[in-house]
Symmetry: D2
Subunit: 319 residues, 4 copies
């Protein structure tokens, strides 16, 4: 998907070469977009490309990010940086030492609707910000095999919402209270995870943020963000594929909201690459490595809160 | 309904006495609201009431209006004034001669949504007005016995829309083109009437108005008004009884729009009486007898247009 | 307001007499609706009325309820029953001993939109209920003098939401986590109260409920309820006074949502009296005295949670 | 735009070569998408491409279509086919003689919202179709130089709506009544054209269609389609770029609707090429050459109706 977007929609970026641990997958992408296939990661790191996009499985992120930093490459890094805070700190150190620009792949910041909420908050149109509400529900749970290696719902799903909370409030999370439950599928509970959660966050600037998550909203991929302040409120409601209404004796029927995350967030994926291209030119990336670290801290605090039944300060969480 | 509204919701108005050709009906109303029952119309006309409300069957309107005018009473007169233009002119003459204030019962002008559209047009918020669109559809056709004495759909249903067109544009109708059809129920066609129609009106100030009517919109009482001008557009959409949405795998379901005209236009009925009370005090009625005449002229022109297959000037219509 | 509604809109109920500590206020009501004015409370309790409506200031509720119970009257009792749990228990004991029917004035249960959400949950249309979200924000804070005697925001404002949470989930609240803040007006903080809050509730049936409150939503009286379950979601969105949209070069403008609680909840106030009338006949009241007690327990738990920075079990709260 | 869409989004189609009377324009496209530039039209017609896309100025359509038909190529032909009915008939004859598949570029049929309305009508979900309403307003008028060669508003703008009317009703237009006006810009009137119009169409199957057009809707590109039948109504409302609402003391503000036709109809342009690719494979094109002829007949009838002040049968219009 990223390779397609870069090739087709982003002026100023081109894919020089692609590497995948499964050579066939890499070859398929190379054939489709007409680029080289690298035999090794080193081949890419030692080439003269300006930037590398690290979109591999989470456990490989830090090694690759460190390698890229040492090679002096600009970096696009998919979230989460890592499920291990010490590892994240290793990446932070390497990137800061190298001084290379990096953008973390929190694509939702680039969704036009959510971005308009953040803009309303940041511009002062909402006055002083008091409360943020984030609802983020998947249409259906992933396979249990995925759940087992996901790092748990707080680090797999909520991590996006921790980022959104920081984005909209423009302020760090200092406390997390989380209630998790296993309501969707007992197998998820048996795998040691939860599938339903509500969280309350306190930010440094006194704003309160509410988040809820579910692994299964049968009506679609439910993604809403609301910001409330002294001068008003902005809400990013769920968009619809089209605006046709059907009126019958049974009432008015609207189109279902989007079901797939790619469908829902298409524009955000394009926009994050446009921002990356712009950042390469301007030297000013919108989502630095610290934006990859803070959500993981919040995720770890959330799990601790859920397990211990008390609010947890993010300052309690250390590598 | 009117007696209830006056009694319960309109300060400054009270029902002194009620008359109905069916004494039992009158008595029931008198008992409910605690007023007198008049034995005869004369009893009311010769009493010291300030105003009379003529809400009887259409064929009695003119005689009663003339009697009220001659008795010097202020008048509330239900629409249509009459189905016969010469009769309307007789009422006009009597009322003008007596100089009594009169308000015609075109309640829809007092609907908050439609009134907001008119206000947007009249205030200049829409700039110069270019086009008006009115959709007005009943949930179900009346009994055939009613159809037979209704004066035809243009004078029974569209008459409201002719008034709305004059209200929103603030300009007289000079030409009518009407296409009628019998699509809902063959029995209506056999009774000599139509049940489906589209009309294009030209106003003196060059605004064009579109109207459509149906005797049967199975999804409810569909009442919309739109005004379009050089600076924008205002639309009065159908309200809903409440704002609850149901989201399931099948999509999003909204409440049906109101089905009954009383439910849809409750506020307008109260508001027209508040306006009448205000008019009695200020001497300034919003809907004079000429507002009762013009829609009938348009209705007669519409029927002629439908029958002759050509646009008809309202100047062609004479008593 | 209640006297007006009973008189004008509720068949089967009539106001026999009214008492107020300020005789002039009582007389004004008596004059308007045409009923007696009682000189003393005893006059009412010892009369042959079927029911008494206790709509006085909170600190008088329990004494009056006990007196009414002992007089064998059916009771309509405004919320909150009391700010003191021992006092509530005294009322509970008296009412249970007398066996008289009672309805607590939690009018929002009778709002058509919120009731449709509860109905969707109770009917099984939403499947198993997982999460409830309640947003309840006032348009402007009350005077500081009111704040000072209000019992605090949790018992003054949130109490409605605790009731709504119990209503929609059909399940008792077993734990409360509350974060309060003083963001709207420093004077409220100086008066020892908060004006902004987020809460997470856990119910006996495992449903989680989120509530947020603000004393000041400048865009109007923001009242929303959402229920989410295994088969779908129902949302009661804010209604609008009418459905007219204005489209200009600046975008699309909708009418503001209602500002005053009486405007927003008009129908609910009528509906609660219709339910009371129905309950008098059927002997089946929808909101018993226990529905007056549980929200106070939750309110006390909320304050404790806010003060102690930890989730509080409602079982910790005793009279 | 078409070259981009074909290259990037349509599997199974590729652009082999591009020709433009301005060689530089053709070269720019060729460079961007990586295809050949043809020196002459013949070079394309005599090559082994399967299909040609004729997207040139209107006055060249017929010659090119005839040449393509004679060369045995499948054809994509932009609308209008021609402003001259005899010329259209020449194209019809050539295409029918050659038996080549052709798709006319009425892209709006492929808009997901409008297509859902047509689907509701065609599937029987609306019962028997009684009325169709089409509103189609541009955000701003084109330059006067364009107006002068446009063939007039009925053939330039309304032609899309005539096609939409035939698409949604599935029935030929047999009569047109049109009222045009010059309200937006006097210069348009001086150029002999109108800028504002309302039309009533009668279809062979008795459905009535209403159309309105304006050259200037300051709030955006207003494109709505409504179908009403015995079982219900479907409306394709204007979509919005995103679903964020801003609530302030001034009311609720929604995003403006799209302003540019490319923005509004992006999906339809992609979808029409997907349909063309599918038609090349299946041999079954959705929009044949007769779909290019009928709207022109309606456009000529509309102008005649506007000029003569009477409804005009399409059977009156001959080449």
């Amino acid at each position: 998907m990223h390779a397609d977007i870069i090739t087709q929609r982003v002026d100023g970026l081109d894919v020089a070469a692609v590497y995948d641990i499964h050579a066939e997958s890499a070859q398929a992408v190379a054939d489709t977009i007409g680029c080289d296939r690298a035999e090794t990661v080193d081949e890419i790191m030692s080439s003269d490309v300006d930037a590398v996009a690290i979109c591999t499985s989470t456990d490989t992120h830090v090694d690759l990010a460190v390698a890229a930093a040492e090679a002096g490459k600009s970096i696009f890094l998919e979230k989460p940086v890592s499920l291990n805070l010490a590892e994240v700190d290793r990446a932070v150190a390497a990137i800061n030492a190298a001084g290379v620009p990096i953008q973390i792949g929190f694509n939702r910041r680039f969704d036009p609707g959510h971005a308009a909420v953040q803009q309303a908050a940041a511009s002062g149109a909402l006055g002083e910000l008091h409360m943020v509400k984030i609802t983020s529900r998947d249409p259906a749970p992933p396979p249990i095999e995925y759940i087992e290696v996901s790092g748990g719902m707080f680090n797999d799903m909520t991590i996006h919402d921790f980022d959104m909370a920081r984005f909209v409030t423009g302020s760090e999370i200092i406390e997390v209270f989380a209630k998790g439950a296993n309501r969707v599928d007992p197998a998820i509970g048996e795998a040691g995870d939860i599938d339903t959660a509500m969280l309350l966050l306190t930010h440094e600037n006194s704003t309160l943020t509410y988040i809820d998550n579910s692994r299964q909203a049968v009506y679609g991929y439910d993604q809403r963000v609301e910001a409330f302040g002294s001068k008003g409120m902005a809400i990013s409601e769920n968009p619809r594929p089209h605006s046709t209404e059907l009126h019958t004796a049974a009432g008015t029927q609207l189109e279902p909201i989007p079901y797939f995350f790619i469908e829902r967030y298409t524009e955000s994926f394009t926009n994050e690459w446009l921002a990356f291209a712009e950042g390469l030119t301007s030297g000013n990336m919108l989502l630095g490595i610290e934006d990859g670290r803070a959500p993981l801290v919040a995720g770890i605090a959330a799990l601790k809160s859920h397990q211990e039944g008390r609010p947890v300060k993010t300052s309690e969480i250390t590598a």
